[in-house]
Homo-oligomer: 199 residues x 2
């Protein structure tokens, strides 16, 4: 950007430009109108807004701003590492290494203090050891379930996913947002009854 | 959703499902890889994260969480009203009415307290009378400028936009984020010099 722009701002703007690529990372989930697969940028918007809307179902010690920050950055590593389908066991083995390298490069574009700060949010989300990270993960799991129900099974039918697989995948919801536990159970039972999920 | 789900949660979930449609609203802006036009959901993600990253350029009294909330909801009315290209004078005349009707319907899906709260954020963004709304608008204007520069003129070239038009469009940036004023001036001068913008 030349000498006209201070280094710190130039680094921040370079990062802002770089992360545009998240809009090109496709997930398995279909949009509710079934027109195409969802990308990770719009998914991140959806669950960040869900964190605001559903904050009342979070445990009392959850800080919504921290959850929103985590959700806005939680998928950025996919720009380099790609999205890994959650039911693809083989590909999931190499996921951690690929994503660590991606985090090094991407967050490393920022000024050091912000590189460290964003990395810490992502590390916290990955570690799943704090109430904020656990509530964030609950929303990350809930949104594709809603889209799968809304598309009459969507990805579940396509990959012949079973109730047991979804129960396992949904387990973090009951941990991060216990108040949504009954709803999730209802959603899964409904999906089996409708034939969206294999029993 | 049936009797199994409390009314309040059912309304919130219905809203969460409804807003999925923002992913299908196309803006004029191109993605930086020029593969397609940007949609309003991924745009909202981008500028919400920019609010977090560029918070240090906001006036001291700006509340980042409120700005992020405003940015996450600021385009929702487009689900009914569509995206109106900022340089389309004729279509902009009917924009206010269409968007008010959209806000009534969409926010009205939520429980009354949240309908009022989200509507108040959107009204505040539209009114542009508070530092939070002005900083939010600054980011909303900055992001497409970056994408236009990154795509060697993108939408500007396509519509033969002039420097004077962009200066006017960018004016809210100097209001909402005065610390970015020099950078914007540099970006516009650079774009004219490169032939991305008509002088």
């Amino acid at each position: 950007m030349g000498e006209a722009v201070p280094t710190r701002l130039a680094q921040q703007i370079q990062f802002v430009i770089e992360i545009d690529q998240l809009k090109g990372i496709l997930r398995q989930t279909l949009l509710t109108d079934r027109s195409r697969r969802e990308n990770s940028a719009e998914h991140s918007w959806h669950i960040a807004l869900m964190a605001v809307l559903l904050a009342e179902y979070a445990p009392a010690d959850v800080d919504v701003l921290r959850v929103v920050k985590m959700l806005l950055v939680h998928d950025l590593v996919e720009i380099d590492a790609g999205d890994t389908f959650c039911y693809d066991a083989q590909h999931n083995q190499s996921k951690a290494d690929r994503e660590q390298q991606a985090a090094d490069r991407l967050f490393g574009l920022l000024p050091p203090d912000q590189a460290q700060e964003l990395r810490s949010w992502w590390d916290e989300f990955e570690a799943q050891a704090t109430p904020d990270a656990q509530f964030a993960a609950a929303l990350d799991r809930l949104q594709p379930m809603l889209n799968n129900v809304q598309t009459a099974g969507g990805t579940w039918k396509q990959h012949q996913i079973t109730k047991a697989q979804v129960l396992q995948r949904a387990a973090p919801i009951a941990i991060g947002a216990p108040a949504l536990g009954d709803f999730i159970q209802h959603l899964i039972d409904h999906s089996v009854a409708q034939g969206y999920l294999r029993p």
